[in-house]
């Protein structure tokens, strides 16, 4: 089950397995069901987008996958191992402000590397500075970075610890549309060189169609899996090709259904 096996296997195996996952919160003495009977398999190296209306429980789903919340029913397993808590092998990248303001760019990227020998950690920091195009800003504090740079920094910090899975919670939601478009390209480029499993939560249909191998459409609360759509267009995707638009329309229709229910 090591990553080496997965790389040599031509048909990658299941990385993440969710079985009958449900989540019920107690709020003001009432129980509120947020997730209901979620069954999902994510393959190793796959890029999955979770698409759903705002407030439907997408973030809760991601927190359950990441081990930050324990599901009230069902189970999540990764590589056949049940998830019991957060783990540096899978890193959650938050919407914004997730970088530590008291550390420089270098300090942030090196945050998870303190147990490595310093020569190796320096090498990794330099590698991910390069990959996320933050050269020249190594000694800059986040307050002096733009929103897009901060988000790239968060991704760099996550990748530096060599995780198998990257969870991204609407990572580009706070950015302007041009930066967001560029960031998607950057993320795809990184994913194609590093081949991690990525689970990406968004409420933006274009984002999902542009990025994902598969799109998981959630219904509104309590979130159930409404549909799963495969997008078999090679990257880089032509955003005005008929097939792209077809998928987009298809998703719009499904999301429309999701909103209606």
């Amino acid at each position: 089950m090591s990553t080496l096996d997965a790389m040599t296997t031509s048909v990658p195996g299941v990385k993440l397995h969710m079985e009958h996952v449900g989540m019920v919160f107690a709020r003001d003495g009432k129980s509120v069901s947020v997730l209901e009977d979620i069954n999902l398999d994510v393959r190793d190296g796959e890029f999955v987008c979770v698409l759903g209306p705002s407030g439907c429980g997408k973030s809760t789903l991601l927190n359950v996958m990441g081990g930050f919340l324990s599901p009230t029913s069902g189970s999540v397993s990764i590589d056949g191992e049940t998830v019991h808590g957060p783990d540096p092998r899978r890193i959650l990248v938050f919407q914004e402000r997730g970088v530590f303001p008291w550390l420089t760019v270098e300090g942030n990227i090196g945050f998870g590397l303190s147990k490595l020998p310093s020569s190796e950690s320096r090498q990794r920091i330099a590698h991910y500075v390069q990959m996320t195009r933050l050269q020249g800003f190594e000694h800059t504090y986040p307050s002096d970075l733009s929103g897009g740079m901060k988000q790239r920094l968060q991704v760099a910090r996550a990748l530096a610890v060599n995780p198998d899975i990257l969870y991204l919670d609407e990572p580009f939601g706070a950015l302007d549309s041009v930066t967001r478009f560029l960031m998607r390209g950057e993320l795809l480029r990184i994913w194609q060189t590093e081949r991690r499993t990525i689970i990406f939560v968004t409420h933006d249909i274009d984002e999902a169609v542009q990025l994902a191998d598969r799109v998981v459409v959630l219904s509104s609360r309590p979130a159930k899996i409404q549909d799963i759509l495969s997008i078999d267009i090679a990257h880089p995707r032509n955003l005005s090709s008929p097939r792209y638009l077809e998928h987009r329309d298809d998703l719009l229709k499904k999301i429309g259904l999701a909103y209606a229910e």
């Binding site: 930050f68 808590g85 957060p86 938050f94 530590f100 550390l103 945050f111 998870g112 504090y141 307050s143």
Partner: protein, 252 residues
């Protein structure tokens, strides 16, 4: 432009001193000693070696009382703040002690420690302890969950988590708390020295009045106290500009 901005407070003070001199000239002997007499008073104290001795005595007490309070109150406050249950248990007690003026402790300080340095150090300690405790408690509360989650995600053990997430996250607020509390310490030391000891700037003021109504020396003491207070504050403020925790102030 910039030098003008910096000069403005100096000019303002100079103008007030001039008004002070004019007022004293118009009502001689009724109001206060004039600025010139006060300056001469400071000169007198310097010549007799008293000024330096008293300043050192006061700073010595402030340093110990303040440091002792910081060393005990900050770790305690951070711990109490982190564990919500501990906070529910401690909070009423803290709220009872907090509004008691440190000066109310003077009789007890003298009872326990007699007249001397220890009594005034104790009073400064009491004056600083509760503000610092509350600062530390609220600083822990204000750590965004986000930072806590990132720390958990990267698998830090407890010691690393405290050192690399909690400590840097609370530092800006702690520094502001320390700055304000140092001001309190400087207030308390003067009061404590008026009663509990025979040296220091507070003693200087009482002594100058008792020994022949030397109001020039009373004012000289006040000017010195004010000036040192300003310098202490400027020193603490310069900490707030350090890059690695400046983030905590720029957003407010």
């Amino acid at each position: 432009m910039n030098s003008w901005v910096r000069l403005r407070p100096v000019l303002f003070i100079a103008a007030l001193v001039v008004i002070w001199q004019i007022a004293v000239n118009r009502h001689p002997g009724q109001l206060l000693p004039g600025p010139w007499e006060v300056l001469r008073g400071i000169g007198d104290l310097l010549r007799h070696g008293l000024l330096l001795k008293y300043v050192v005595a006061s700073l010595f007490r402030v340093t110990w009382g303040f440091l002792l309070a910081a060393v005990i109150a900050i770790p305690l406050g951070l711990t109490i703040g982190w564990y919500r249950r501990a906070e529910m248990a401690f909070n009423p007690l803290v709220q009872i002690f907090r509004p008691i003026s440190p000066l109310a402790w003077i009789p007890i300080a003298i009872l326990w420690f007699g007249v001397g340095d220890l009594a005034s150090i104790f009073l400064i300690f009491v004056g600083c302890f509760f503000p610092l405790l509350l600062t530390a408690m609220s600083a822990v509360h204000n750590i965004p969950d986000l930072y806590v989650n990132v720390g958990r995600n990267f698998g830090l053990n407890t010691a690393d988590f405290i050192y690399r997430v909690v400590y840097p996250a609370v530092l800006p607020q702690l520094i502001t708390g320390l700055r304000i509390t140092l001001g309190i310490a400087w207030l308390v030391v003067v009061a404590a020295e008026m009663i509990a000891v025979n040296s220091g700037l507070g003693f200087l003021i009482v002594d100058a009045r008792n020994a022949g109504n030397r109001y020039d020396l009373v004012l000289a003491g006040m000017v010195v106290i004010g000036t040192i207070g300003l310098l202490l504050d400027l020193g603490m403020r310069s900490l707030e500009r350090v890059k690695s925790f400046r983030w905590g102030y720029s957003e407010n």
